[in-house]
Symmetry: C2
Subunit: 239 residues, 2 copies
Amino acid sequence: MDGYDKYAHEPFAVTADLAVFTLRGGALHALLVERGQEPYAGRWALPGGFVQPDESAETAARRELAEETGLSDVSGLHLEQVRTYSEPGRDPRMRVVSVAFAALLPDAPEARGGSDAAQARWVPYGAAGPLAFDHDRILADAHDRVGAKLEYTCLATAFCPPEFTLGELQQVYEAVWATGLDRPNFRRKVLATPGFVEPVPGAARLTGGRGKPAALYRAGTATALHPPLLRPTREGRPA
Amino acid sequence: MDGYDKYAHEPFAVTADLAVFTLRGGALHALLVERGQEPYAGRWALPGGFVQPDESAETAARRELAEETGLSDVSGLHLEQVRTYSEPGRDPRMRVVSVAFAALLPDAPEARGGSDAAQARWVPYGAAGPLAFDHDRILADAHDRVGAKLEYTCLATAFCPPEFTLGELQQVYEAVWATGLDRPNFRRKVLATPGFVEPVPGAARLTGGRGKPAALYRAGTATALHPPLLRPTREGRPA
DNA sequence: CCCTTTTATAGTCAGAGCGACCATAAAAGG
DNA sequence: CCTTTTATGGTCGCTCTGACTATAAAAGGG
């Protein structure tokens, strides 16, 4: 931080880019916007925008998230800084440094075109063609981060509505990890972790399904997961 | 990334700040520089500097690392991006966005004042008074990140010279985690992890100490640690 | 030279955690 | 009434780990 006067510091543009994940029908989806102008016109990209002079990158990311999803209450959503991308030439027009965030959404409102985004769509993760700029890498990095944090934090509840069943919580893990989990073992692990979930006292149950109604739970107060919930070691049982 | 023309993007200055860690006498130290000018004149701060127009933040961090430590070969050192700090007002003079990195050094050359740094010193971690800017938080975040990565990666060898004993490797964990570990159990865990360390075939041994000479090991090729090496759960045995 | 100290290394044993199961309960659909 | 489906409860054995004991190989002091 020394030497302010000895370096000529070129001005940079700073943006906040978002990898917004949600579950739709048990499958992991990411929110993408279609670019209307060059470069990469017509290609899909991550939502994002410039950080304003009075904003932090986190604030800008949350503002963009609200604009892009159309959600009014975006304050409770989990937003996590992934990393910053600063390679020269990653934007052909100018020097842009992007701070990337991962956002986790419980419900998936149909994407509306935000005020500035021509078109926003939920795309199944992995089904997106090559994205604009280095957004393929940003999206992959964000996915890696979320998958890793599921192992040793209680982050999975951020994908769920306020009240959820253990089956829905398990679907989060299975969708992000792209693997199958044994249901009784998953139950045991989650319930044995104090503060991960707490049962809804009214013995409420979810209807609409076929089999036995499942008990409802709320997210607990714990944030860490000790010991961690490790994903199967490659040759695990198939889904 | 859309809307380039609709936003007035204020120019930002971008810096790379470094939390450089090493072990000196079994204790974790961080590299700090003394500020010569306002603001925070006379206070200690993390080494760092502006990202040049043709550099990525990683490149700038590595250049600053070489300048600040005086090391010639800085290419093999482990450098890890921690996070980016972008709150407005974190630098009273101008809008500065800092990308923070953690660097791990095996040996600790006596800090020389770099070309631009008035004075650089190794300070025991935790013994540094309040640092300039938000560098206390950056240093703490970097320490948290390194401590966490010791659990599920083979990062600890980055603190060690090319050949090291298992006792030295254990000291890394104990210094970063500020806890004591059972030596036989640590050995068993490390040796049971394929690719973590590999014995030096020449049955070489380290001399100079008091007791039985220890076998030497080199860092293996593995990067992940499955299952992880979890730190003791608070009420663990004292050091 | 013996004995103590120090450090490295090997081994033992019980309990926790987990993967792979099997069993039962409670709903819907025929 | 029976089958299907999903949720929930439990068992068994293996692995890993924490706590601990034992042996080996050096240095230092009498």
